[in-house]
Structures are given as structure tokens and as C-alpha cells.
């Protein structure tokens, strides 16, 4: 009885399954400046701060503190020695060599004993030198009477740092110090000064590694969150561009930024992104790749439902359509949600070149998309099942070339496909100088030798090479992976059932992909389901026709530019010969 019940539960549909949970609902078109949008920032700035506090206080509380006094254990004490002991305990001094406690005296009248706390390597030494100089050498003011005002005096009159905060909780101090700030504790003050001295080693802004284009900006994100947000804000200089921060990962305490245009992005979408991010409990988030796996809708489908890019211009163009970007500190790849398959086949370059060339590129890429996963499977289906399909001369040429090959076609194809994948993988891992050449040399030599040794037929080399080229033409790294795996499925289907097998694969892939959602947006929109606004899907219309933002994102304001965006064609005023 129980078993049958369990079985029934197993095979029956569970209500309110999570993947049905969020659907981006239609909004009223053209309702810009909704009051809802204005409320957004005040609501949303609270949670990250609260969250950070909660987490760090938990971490701090774990440390045994022998000399606890009444009141909040987290509060900063008035005694400099007590504070020093607490800090030492929290960081595990003296074993922990990263933390530096610098004791010094402020040269006021009377002198004040202080110590500074910072982590070696995360701070900018030049700024720190300036700070100590200012406090120790140039401070010659009389001390005010009230003790509580001490920190404010130091902050307002003595410290030249550009961001100085006053905190009275150890948890805040730890968070800041962990981020590279310098904390200064003063004798007799229950508050600590936090001075912005972040300055760790990092990469500069370089050219994109995996998304090169010819026309268009050549900047890529790097590992520094602030640099990344600045790169985006450099393109969208709009006060409505909102960056929210929250901390994730119990151990890494990674800062994750959510960026969106306050008056454009659908509030439901922003709320959903924050809901998903807030709910994640893990210890280690080092890269946006890990985060994306936590928040994606369909982890079991091969297709990626989150767009990953390292190009600021790409993110900016998506933000002005009303999407949301998620930037993870320490990751040069930014996530953009929601996304569609068609977005993943775009590079941004099509918009920078004229529309005819852009459309041409898109069609080329559409072809590459099909070839990259279908070609070997279709080839096998033809040579094994559908001999009637190819022209006689071509068939006889294929047959003739295969005469000396001792393997069945399947083995032949697998051999070459796997070699090609190996070359590809090795080309990435091999150290710099050889890496680039090994791909070409490896492929050429291997192919040539394989043909000469009669292990594979020459036609197959062409096929595998074309398939490989096609998969390199897919701009999205994850999507290209998916297609590479699909390719092997199609090989299996083509080998067993010919074109019927291929048809099975295509249908299954279509249904499964059509069922996908990326943050409430169908993955195949705007084609399946059909929505309006198809000026930039496969073909790209001239820019002055891009009047609407994509409908499936349901932005607060759908209009991107007026119907006549080129004012000069209407008013035929100056400069003519009339």
C-alpha cells in the first residue's frame, strides 16, 4: 500500500515544481517612469548589508573570547589592549602572518596611543605611508574634551584618506580589513576608523581572450569587481544604472554585484535574481561560473541558459534592453540574465558593422550552428543508410577513398573527432608559445599522416575540419561545448537509424530546448514562442529600425527610439541646393 502510494507519487506530477515557478509576466507597454521603479533602490539596499553583518558576526562569534564583558561581544572596547587581544584571537595571531598590527602614537597634544590593523598585500602602501605620516608627524592639535568625539576629530581633521568610515562593531572591521582596508583603533575610543587602502595586485584591462572581434571596443573585464563595474558605467553614464552588492560564500565572502537600469529592468526580474542569489548557501564562490550553476533554471539540459561574456560593451547593450548583469568579484566573466539561444549566437560585432554585413555574419553563424552538431551524424547517416542521396560520382569517390581504410565509418569518424577534440584541448593547455601552433600543426600533420597511412579517408578529414571550424564560429563558449556534445549524440543516432535517427534527435532537442526557460523567459524566444520585435534575431535590420526593446524581456519601457530616429530625413533644411 505504501509502496503503491510512493510509486504513484513518483510517477505523478508534483505541484508547484520549482522550474515552473517564475514566469516573466507581460507588463503594460510603454509605461515608463512607473512609481514602482523609484521604490526599487531603497528596498533593495538593505538586504546585502544585513546579510553581511549576520554572516561576519557568526564567524566572529566562533572565536573563544576569554575576557568577555557585559554587552555586545561584538562591540569594540575602550581599552586598546583588549581590542588588540580580540583582533589577535580573531585572526589567530601570531600564527597568522598575513595580518599586521602596527602600533603607533598620534602626535597630538596629548599623544594618543593607537594601532592600525591591515592585511599585508591587500593594501596600497603609498596610501598607508601618507596616513601614518599625517597622523604621526603633522598632527599637532589640542585634544577635545569628550572622549566619544576622538574618532571624529581624527577622521575630520587628521586623516587624508578619501573614504573613512567609523564603526563600532568588530564584524564590520573584519569585513573591511578582509577587503583590504586599514582599521585604526584609538586608545579610549569604542569606535574604529576604517580607511580605504585597497590596493592588491591585479591584472589591468586587457583585450578579450575568448570573444575577439574586429570592429568595436577591445576592452575586457578583469578580476577586480570595481574595475568591472566602472567599465560598464563608463559606457552607460546614467544615474539610473544601479549596482547592488551582496556577499556570497561563507569562506570566500565574495562580493557579487547586480547591475540593472532602474527604470528599465522589469522589477519582477530584479527581484527574482536577488531571490535566487540570496537563497544560495555555500562556502566557495570564486568565479561567476560557479555562481551561474547555482542559479540557472535547467541544470540538466546541455544548453546554457545564462549568458556569460567578458566584454563590457556586450553587457551594456544587454542592460539597455532591460536585462540584469551579475558581476562576481574575482571573475572576468559577467553573467547576464535572461538570455536566449539567439542572444548566445550574437557577438555584438554585428551591430558595430553595417547591417548588411551583420546579417551576413548572422546567417553564416546560423549555418555554422547547424553544421557544428549535425555534419558528422548526417555524413554517417548518408554513407551507411542513404547511398541514394548523394550524386553518383561523389558517392563513388567516397567509396573509392574508403576502399583501403580498414575501419568502419563510425570508428573512422570517432577517431578523427576525438583527435580533433584532443588537439583542441591540448592547444588550450599547452604553454603559451607552442599552444598556438600545435593546433594547426597537429591537425595538419595528423590528418595528412592518417590519410597516408590509410587510417581515414581524405573526405573525412575535410568533414571533421569543417565541423571543427563551425564549432569555433559559435561565439558562446558554453554553447559551443553543448554543441560539441550534441555532435556525438547525433553520431550515435545517425549510425543506428540514419536520417530517421537524426530526425529523432532534432525533434527531441527541439522539444527539450523549447521547454527551457532563462529567468522566466522562454529560451527560444522570440521564435518559439513568437513575440514581436524580431528586428535583431537572425537577420539584423538597420539600426534605425530598432525601435522596440525585445518584448520577451518585458522591460518597463519598450520604446528604444522614436519611429523616426533619424531626424534629418524629416527636416530637409540646410545644406541643400534648393
Amino acid at each position: 500500500m505504501i509502496n503503491t502510494k510512493k510509486f504513484l507519487e513518483f510517477i505523478s506530477y508534483k505541484e508547484n515544481s520549482d522550474r515552473e515557478g517564475f514566469i516573466l509576466k507581460e507588463t503594460a507597454d510603454d509605461n515608463n517612469e512607473q512609481p514602482q521603479g523609484e521604490n526599487q533602490p531603497t528596498q533593495s539596499e538593505k538586504p546585502p548589508a544585513r546579510k553581511a553583518l549576520k554572516k561576519t558576526s557568526r564567524a566572529g562569534g566562533l572565536q573563544p573570547e576569554e575576557d568577555q564583558v557585559e554587552g555586545d561581544p561584538d562591540a569594540i572596547r575602550a581599552s586598546l589592549n583588549q581590542n588588540k587581544n580580540i583582533i589577535s584571537n580573531l585572526y589567530g595571531l601570531p600564527e597568522n602572518k598575513d595580518l599586521v598590527i602596527r602600533e603607533f602614537v598620534i602626535g597630538t597634544d596629548p599623544e594618543i596611543n593607537c594601532f592600525a590593523v591591515f592585511i599585508d598585500g591587500l593594501t596600497d602602501k603609498a596610501i598607508q605611508d601618507l596616513l601614518f605620516q599625517a597622523l604621526m608627524l603633522f598632527a599637532e592639535r589640542p585634544l577635545p574634551k569628550e572622549k566619544g568625539g576622538l574618532v571624529y576629530l581624527v577622521r575630520e581633521h587628521l586623516l587624508p584618506g578619501n573614504q573613512v568610515a567609523v564603526k563600532n562593531l568588530f564584524s564590520d572591521v573584519l569585513t573591511a580589513v578582509n577587503m583590504g582596508d586599514t582599521a585604526i583603533f584609538l586608545e579610549g575610543s569604542t569606535k574604529a576608523l576604517l580607511i580605504e587602502t585597497k590596493g592588491w595586485e591585479h591584472r589591468g584591462v586587457e583585450r578579450p581572450q575568448s570573444e575577439q572581434i574586429v570592429r568595436g571596443p577591445q576592452e575586457a573585464f578583469n578580476e577586480t569587481l570595481r574595475a568591472n563595474t566602472a567599465l560598464i558605467r563608463k559606457i552607460i553614464r546614467d544615474e539610473r544604472l544601479t549596482t547592488e552588492m551582496l556577499t556570497m560564500g561563507d569562506r570566500t565572502r565574495t562580493i557579487v554585484a547586480i547591475m540593472y537600469l532602474r527604470d528599465l529592468a522589469n522589477p519582477d526580474l530584479v527581484a527574482e535574481v536577488k531571490r535566487r542569489l540570496d537563497s544560495i548557501k555555500t562556502d566557495y564562490i570564486a568565479d561567476s561560473g560557479i555562481l551561474s550553476q547555482f542559479i540557472e533554471d535547467n541544470p540538466y539540459n546541455l544548453n546554457p541558459t545564462i549568458l556569460t561574456t567578458e566584454r563590457p560593451d556586450r553587457v551594456a547593450s544587454q542592460l539597455v534592453e532591460g536585462r540584469v548583469a551579475i558581476i562576481v568579484d574575482g571573475s572576468p566573466f559577467v553573467l547576464v540574465v535572461p538570455t536566449t539561444l539567439y542572444e548566445q549566437l550574437h557577438t555584438g560585432e554585428e551591430s558595430y558593422i553595417r547591417w548588411q554585413y551583420g546579417s551576413y555574419l548572422r546567417y553564416l553563424r546560423a549555418l555554422a550552428f547547424l553544421v557544428s552538431f549535425l555534419a558528422p551524424g548526417a555524413y554517417l547517416a548518408i554513407v551507411l543508410f542513404h547511398h541514394e542521396m548523394i550524386p553518383t560520382e561523389l558517392l563513388l569517390a567516397i567509396a573509392g577513398n574508403r576502399e583501403k581504410v580498414p575501419f568502419p565509418s563510425l570508428i573512422e569518424v570517432l577517431l578523427m573527432e576525438i583527435s580533433f577534440e584532443l588537439i583542441r584541448e591540448a592547444g588550450i593547455r599547452l604553454p603559451g608559445v607552442i599552444g598556438g601552433t600545435i593546433g594547426i600543426v597537429g591537425a595538419l600533420i595528423l590528418g595528412q599522416a592518417a590519410v597516408q597511412a590509410n587510417i581515414v579517408s581524405p573526405i573525412l578529414i575535410i568533414l571533421v575540419a569543417i565541423t571543427g571550424l563551425a564549432s569555433f564560429a559559435i561565439p558562446d563558449y558554453s554553447l559551443s561545448f553543448a554543441l560539441r556534445i550534441y555532435r556525438f549524440i547525433y553520431i550515435a543516432l545517425g549510425v543506428t537509424m540514419g536520417f530517421f535517427g537524426i530526425a529523432i534527435g532534432i525533434f527531441a532537442q527541439m522539444v527539450l530546448t523549447a521547454n527551457l526557460k532563462s529567468f522566466g523567459v522562454p529560451y527560444l524566444s522570440p521564435v518559439g514562442p513568437r513575440t514581436v520585435g524580431g528586428v535583431d534575431v537572425v537577420y539584423r535590420m538597420p539600426v534605425f529600425f530598432h525601435e522596440k526593446r525585445p518584448d520577451y524581456i518585458n522591460p518597463q519601457d519598450i520604446t528604444r527610439q522614436p519611429r523616426v530616429s533619424r531626424g534629418w530625413i524629416k527636416d530637409k533644411g540646410g545644406g541643400t541646393n534648393d
Binding site: Y13, E15, I382, M389, P391, M510, V511, G528, R530, T531
Partner: protein
């Protein structure tokens, strides 16, 4: 509750159209050529009119209760016992369509492309993908149809255009083929047997409710019947009807006859992909129809547990007929007349019953 999903009229039109044109790829056009001879292309005209009228009648029925589907309305009209029986009849119709189409498509694949693939494997593939499609729901199916339709219609169009060198008006005559009675009488009878009216009435809540029902119905029927007419017209233009009537699969024969020079020929295997995808959609759609109709009849919370039993029944039914000619005969002699009952007779009966019911209390009062 039943995972309804929802999709717009664009997808609904395409879904119903693809479901309807599945018959083009089967031995079905052969029957029309037999009926119409040189006027085969006229045979669907009568069917089109009837199908449009059928959609209108169904609209009248569904308007009685815009929140519900035809299944509930049937029950309201005829009471729980008779209503449930009628609804089970509808479910049976979907099963029969699914089974016969699965078998016919499987046979077609064997004849056309893969003569040595066991039929059980092909049927399993069809039915397995049918379950997959139906399990993911009508929304995913509609989107798939929307994705596939440029290729399906593009493929058909390409095929028809590729035969232009073989077109000739000579075989369009005599104009009325086997006589107006045969062309318009028998022709209407054989082409009016569509599945889509009742199917659209069952999934009405998913495809945007009563408001777009007529639009979707009319457009999809126009599109589907014009495809059928176009195919038959090209058959008449390019082939001698008497030999075309010999062919098991007229569409395949057309694809085989493409000859556009030394390189562009022998393309029929490509059409196997198009066929199969249409077949997958068709079978998934009928399975979904059967499951949802049964779920609503029995007032179950979800249709998915029903998919397995229904697919097994469909699979068994599809393998029951001993040979292809029997299946073709069943299609023509049993399925087409059977189709008339849920699609045309049932809505008329509901209208009559509802009118009687309404009149009764009035007379009493």
C-alpha cells in the same frame, strides 16, 4: 492542476496546421487522387468548407461556457453517464488517430528510407518521442511546431517548386475528374475528417481561450487545406493521375522525381527528416489530446500519469493491423467516418441537448 501552459495564436495556428498536414505524407493523397482523378486538387475544397463550418459550430458550443473545454460542456449537456461515455468516445478517437498515424508513418519510413529497420523500433521511437512531447506539455510542443514550421513548409514548397520542369497542364483535364459527385461528394467526405476541431476544443484553455478560437481555427484550416490542395495540384500537374494512384506514398514519389540537373536530384532522404518531425508532432499532439481529454473526463488532477498507459494502448493498437494495405483501408474506411463524429456530430448534439435542456425548465415554469 493540469499543466496547461499557454501560448499565443501564432503557435496555435501552426500547431493545428502541422497536425493536419501530417496526412499529406501518408498514403492518404493517393485516395484523393483515386477519388478525384484529374480533379484531385479540388477534392479538399468541400472538406475545407465543412471544416470551417465545424470550427464555427464548435465555437458556438464553447461559447456556452468560456471557462471550460468541450469535455466539461459535453458532460453538462448530456449528464454524467452519457456525457462521460461521449467523452470516452473522444478519447478513443484520439487514440485511434495516434495509433493509425504511428503505424502508417512507421510503414512509410520502412518503405521510403530504412527498409531493414524493425517496425517495432520505429514505432517505439515515435511513441517514445510522443510521450516526451506530451509530457513536456502542449506549450513545448507548440513552440517546437513554431520552430519547425519554416523548415516543414519550406521543404514542401521547395519540393513543389522543384517539380516545375515536370509541370504540364495536360493532366489537369478533364476538369471535373471522376465527376462532380465523386469529387465534391466523396472528396468532401474524405477530407473533412480532421482531428483538429475536437483537439482545439480540448486544449482551448491553453491556446488563449474562446476569443482567439475562431481565428486560430479558420487560419489553421485554411493553411492546412491550402497545403493539401497545393500538393494535390502539383500531383495533377506533374504526374499522370492513374499511375499516381498506384503509389503507396505519393509524396515520396514526388520527392523522388525531383531532377534539377546532375547535382540537384535524389533529395528524398532529406524529406524523411521533415516527415518524421511532422509525425512526432502529430503523435505527441494526439497523445496529449487523449490524455487531457481523459483527465478532464475523469476529473483527475494531472494528465501525466495517464501517458504511460495510453501510449501502451496506442502502441498495441498500432501493431494490431496485419499489413499496410489493411492500415490504409482502416484509415480510409474507419478513421475518416469516425472523425466526423467528435468533430461535427458531437458539437451539434451538444447544441441540441443544451437547447432542449433550456427549453424544459422554461416550459415547466
Amino acid at each position: 492542476m493540469i499543466k496547461a501552459g499557454s501560448f499565443g495564436p501564432a503557435e496555435a495556428i501552426i500547431l493545428l496546421t502541422i497536425s493536419n498536414i501530417a496526412r499529406i505524407f501518408l498514403p492518404y493523397p493517393r485516395q484523393l487522387v483515386e477519388i478525384g482523378a484529374s480533379a484531385a486538387w479540388m477534392t479538399p475544397l468541400g472538406g475545407l468548407v465543412v471544416a470551417l463550418a465545424g470550427f464555427y459550430v464548435m465555437y458556438l458550443v464553447l461559447r456556452k461556457n468560456p471557462e471550460q473545454t468541450v469535455v466539461e460542456i459535453t458532460e453538462q449537456a448530456f449528464g454524467p453517464v452519457l456525457g462521460t461515455l461521449l467523452n470516452l468516445f473522444t478519447v478513443g478517437f484520439f487514440l485511434a488517430v495516434g495509433a493509425i498515424f504511428a503505424r502508417e508513418f512507421a510503414e512509410a519510413i520502412i518503405i521510403a528510407a530504412l527498409p531493414r529497420l524493425p517496425i517495432s523500433i520505429i514505432s517505439l521511437a515515435y511513441l517514445g518521442l510522443g510521450v516526451l512531447g506530451a509530457y513536456l506539455g502542449i506549450e513545448a510542443l507548440a513552440r517546437t511546431a513554431r520552430l519547425a514550421y519554416p523548415y516543414i513548409f519550406g521543404g514542401i514548397l521547395l519540393l513543389l517548386l522543384a517539380l516545375i520542369p515536370q509541370w504540364g497542364t495536360g493532366d489537369l483535364f478533364p476538369v471535373f475528374g471522376k465527376g462532380p459527385l465523386s469529387v465534391f461528394g466523396l472528396g468532401t467526405f474524405s477530407t473533412a475528417g480532421v482531428t483538429e476541431i475536437i483537439f482545439a476544443a480540448v486544449i482551448i484553455q491553453s491556446m488563449g481561450g474562446i476569443d482567439s478560437f475562431r481565428l486560430v481555427g479558420y487560419r489553421s484550416m485554411l493553411l492546412a487545406f491550402s497545403s493539401l490542395i497545393a500538393v494535390l495540384l502539383v500531383i495533377n500537374l506533374a504526374f499522370n493521375w492513374s499511375t499516381m494512384a498506384e503509389n503507396t506514398l505519393p509524396f515520396y514519389r514526388m520527392a523522388r522525381n525531383i531532377y534539377l540537373g546532375r547535382f540537384l536530384q535524389r533529395v528524398e532522404a532529406v524529406f524523411v527528416i521533415i516527415w518524421s518531425i511532422v509525425a512526432f508532432i502529430k503523435i505527441a499532439v494526439t497523445l496529449y489530446g487523449a490524455a487531457v481529454a481523459l483527465t478532464r473526463t475523469l476529473k483527475l488532477p494531472d494528465y501525466r500519469p495517464l501517458l504511460w498507459p495510453l501510449i501502451v494502448i496506442m502502441f498495441m493498437l498500432s501493431l494490431l493491423p496485419p499489413d499496410l494495405p489493411t492500415v490504409v483501408k482502416l484509415d480510409a474506411d474507419l478513421l475518416r467516418p469516425y472523425a466526423l463524429i467528435p468533430n461535427y456530430l458531437l458539437p451539434l448534439m451538444i447544441l441540441a441537448a443544451l437547447r432542449l435542456r433550456r427549453r424544459d425548465p422554461r416550459e415547466e415554469g
